[in-house]
């Protein structure tokens, strides 16, 4: 293990480490802690300019209730789910198939297709913006969650294909060979042999895509306008315009908006990191 495990070092170093760890953590998260503290501040504190001192009152319930009562943030969050969940399902489903095809079959253009999906990941969104917006308009899906879902599914398929293809490549190919010798059809091989082995990859990708899509802001501003379809990221920004100087509400709103991906991360940490760090080890 590198660096040297702390328990093998001298006592002062150990003590130092144990002090340094929480302090560094505190500094690292200071901006977030400030937001949390502000989200429970009373309006009086905000007006009196007590932004950084200890709150005189803890208005936890009041502030969070106020956020839900005098803003459409509940609707925004619901919209975010309406965008995120279908996207996760769609992108993972498509990429299970594309990944399988690219990993298992040898055919002309295989590598080329694979590279097409990979390259798609790195494309600056801006080059897609005008045509995708037009296309969505023509489909009549502008300003709907469905319009966002279709685009996200298509775009995420690039990254997911890279992920799935590499994952399946690493599976023992003998399993597929054996099934073929048995005469099992290709579709059944996919469904009954490979798919069950892909569970960890599916879990990892789902968590990852959930976070990416939940946090998307750019496409939400490009493809959606009205509050009936606006996801919480873009919604929060428009609320920021209304809640001028009501920082306790902005903070509470921010925390509410951040909660689902954070919860997802803590619940599925192992999968999340597995997904993110694919390729970091070889």
């Amino acid at each position: 293990m590198f660096p040297t495990p702390i328990e093998r070092t001298a006592a002062p170093t150990q003590a130092l480490y144990k002090i340094a760890l929480p302090i560094s953590l505190l500094l690292w998260l200071a901006p977030l802690l400030a937001v949390m503290l502000t989200s429970v501040r009373s309006q009086g504190d905000i007006i009196a300019g007590n932004y950084w001192g200890w709150p005189t009152d803890f208005d936890l319930m009041e502030n969070y209730l106020a956020v839900f009562q005098n803003s459409p943030i509940g609707q925004y969050i619901w919209n975010s789910f309406k965008v995120t969940i279908p996207t996760v399902i769609g992108a993972v489903a498509l990429s299970c198939m594309t990944g399988f095809a690219l990993a298992v079959y040898k055919f002309k253009g295989n590598l080329l297709l694979f590279f097409m999906f990979v390259a798609g990941n790195f494309i600056p969104f801006q080059i897609l913006m005008v045509p995708v917006r037009d296309f969505t308009l023509q489909l009549g899906l502008y300003d709907t969650t469905m319009g966002l879902v279709l685009f996200h599914v298509a775009f995420q398929t690039g990254f997911c294909t890279l992920f799935m293809r590499n994952f399946i490549k690493a599976l023992p190919f003998e399993l597929i060979e054996a099934a073929r010798v048995e005469g099992v059809s290709e579709v059944r091989i996919f469904w009954f042999v490979v798919l069950p082995l892909m569970r960890p990859a599916i879990a990892a990708l789902s968590v990852l895509i959930f976070t990416f899509i939940w946090n998307d802001y750019f496409w939400a501003t490009v493809l959606v306008q009205g509050k009936h379809a606006l996801p919480v990221t873009a919604g929060l920004y428009s609320l920021n315009g209304q809640w001028i100087a009501a920082w306790h509400l902005v903070s509470a709103g921010s925390i509410v908006a951040a909660l689902p991906p954070v919860a997802m991360f803590f619940l599925m940490q192992k999968h999340f990191i597995a997904g993110l760090t694919l390729g970091a080890v070889k």
Binding site: L137, Q138, G140, Y142, Q225, G226, Q242, A245
Partner: protein, 412 residues
């Protein structure tokens, strides 16, 4: 190619699923950008009133976010047009008029006698000699000030440029910033440019400049910036104004750190909400600069239009006629906190509105606002230049040079 095929399929499927609900006869679809609390309530009342008088018309009201609406309108006018849509007068209508997306309502103006009753806004509703909608509200711009602070230092309302400089000097000496402003979203700086320009050069030059007939390297523009420098270089605006939105700039005035703000009448509501009483808050017309020059004002006008692709134009016309009515505009504007355009409407009770009403009635002419009179690309570049000037006044020449170049390109 593939796109087009997919589009056709998609559109067909969606058309099938939608026709059931949307195109019912007797349904009037209204899209508005009145998402802020007061306008929202005002429009709710307006639409309720219309329904009460026209029980056979089913009204479907789509309320859009005010900022988002500016992009949404481009889409819904082409894709699924409502029967009525709100918008703004002046150059802001031009792209839609040119693209044939607004209905010509000149005959309605004739028939309903609006050429008379809505006369003050007629010019700003006209493009190519035709009228493209009706105005329902406007509001004055001017200087809102802290009367109590003025009294404290024995100051009186400035009537001339020299008065204004003297007042500012006294305030500054007493550690009160003469003017608060938040230029983060640029247009507040354009208010200053407009007023200095209207007072130094007059209405005609404002219109020529925004229409591209006069250039930014004109000495007249120089003269505007020279006056402006006198304020900027003396430090008569609050520090760090580029960091703030206009709302964020109000607390300086509320807390007494600044004494004046050049703003539209919509600033009154938040200032009152923040605790300023009508005894503390006053309003005055922007002072005279070039002696004897007739005073024109900025009075941005909000409007209602019938999209060319509307399905129910008959009822839409009824709605326009309703909105234009004197009594309806009185009520609507009372709750908007703005001024009715119809000359038959009642004079508002509110202190600031009645002052504005008188000021605008006497005005030599009404301009829309820099970013509504100039085309979008020019407005953006111009306002960035104004903001930059307010932060770095020494760059005046470079800024004007840049604006001249951009103007040549925009108006080719």
């Amino acid at each position: 190619m593939l796109h087009r095929i997919a589009t056709t399929f998609g559109a067909a499927a969606i058309a099938l699923s939608l026709t059931a609900g949307s195109a019912l006869a007797g349904t009037l679809v209204i899209n508005t950008d009145t998402s802020n609390p007061a306008p929202k309530a005002a429009f709710q009342a307006l639409i309720d009133g219309f329904k009460a008088e026209n029980p056979d018309i089913e009204v479907k009201w789509n309320l859009f976010d005010r900022e988002g609406y500016k992009t949404s309108i481009r889409n819904f006018l082409t894709a699924e047009a409502p029967d009525v849509a709100t918008w703004y007068a002046g150059n802001r209508m031009l792209p839609y008029v040119e693209a044939g997306l607004f209905e010509d309502v000149s005959d309605l103006w004739e028939q309903e006698g609006w050429n008379d009753s809505l006369k003050s806004a007629a010019a700003s509703m006209t493009i190519d000699g035709k009228k493209w909608g009706i105005p329902y509200t406007y509001y004055q711009w001017g200087v809102y000030y802290r009367k109590d602070i003025f009294d404290q230092y024995g100051l009186s309302v400035p009537e001339t440029w020299d008065d204004l400089l003297a007042v500012s000097k006294t305030l500054k000496e007493n550690d009160v910033a003469p003017f608060t402003i938040g230029t983060k979203f640029l247009w507040t700086a354009a208010g200053w440019f407009d007023y200095l320009n209207l007072r130094v050069n007059g209405y005609e030059f404002h219109m020529d400049l925004t229409a591209g007939k006069a250039s930014y390297d004109d000495p007249k523009v120089q003269a505007v910036f020279d006056r402006w420098s006198e304020l900027v270089e003396a430090g008569y605006f609050i520090d760090n104004h580029a960091n703030y939105s206009w709302q964020e700039s109000l607390p300086f005035m509320v807390q007494g750190d600044a004494a004046m703000i050049l703003m539209g009448n919509f600033a009154v509501a938040p200032l009152r909400e923040a605790g300023l009483t009508d005894d503390q808050l006053g309003f005055f017309q922007f002072p005279e600069i070039t002696p004897g020059l007739p005073k024109a004002e900025d009075a941005p006008t909000d409007t209602v239009h019938i999209p060319a692709n509307a399905k129910n134009k008959e009822d839409a016309k009824k709605f326009l006629a309703y909105v234009a009515r004197a009594d309806v505009q009185t009520t609507l504007n009372a709750s908007l906190g703005q001024l009715p355009v119809n000359s038959g409407s009642e004079r508002p009770d509110d202190k600031f509105l009645s002052q504005g009403f008188d000021m605008l009635s006497d005005a030599y002419a009404l301009a829309q606002f820099y970013d509504r009179d100039a085309p979008a690309a020019m407005a953006k570049a111009g306002m960035e230049g104004f903001q930059e000037f307010m932060v770095k006044p020494e760059r005046k020449d470079a800024i004007l040079e840049r604006l001249t170049k951009i103007q040549q390109r925009v108006y080719k």
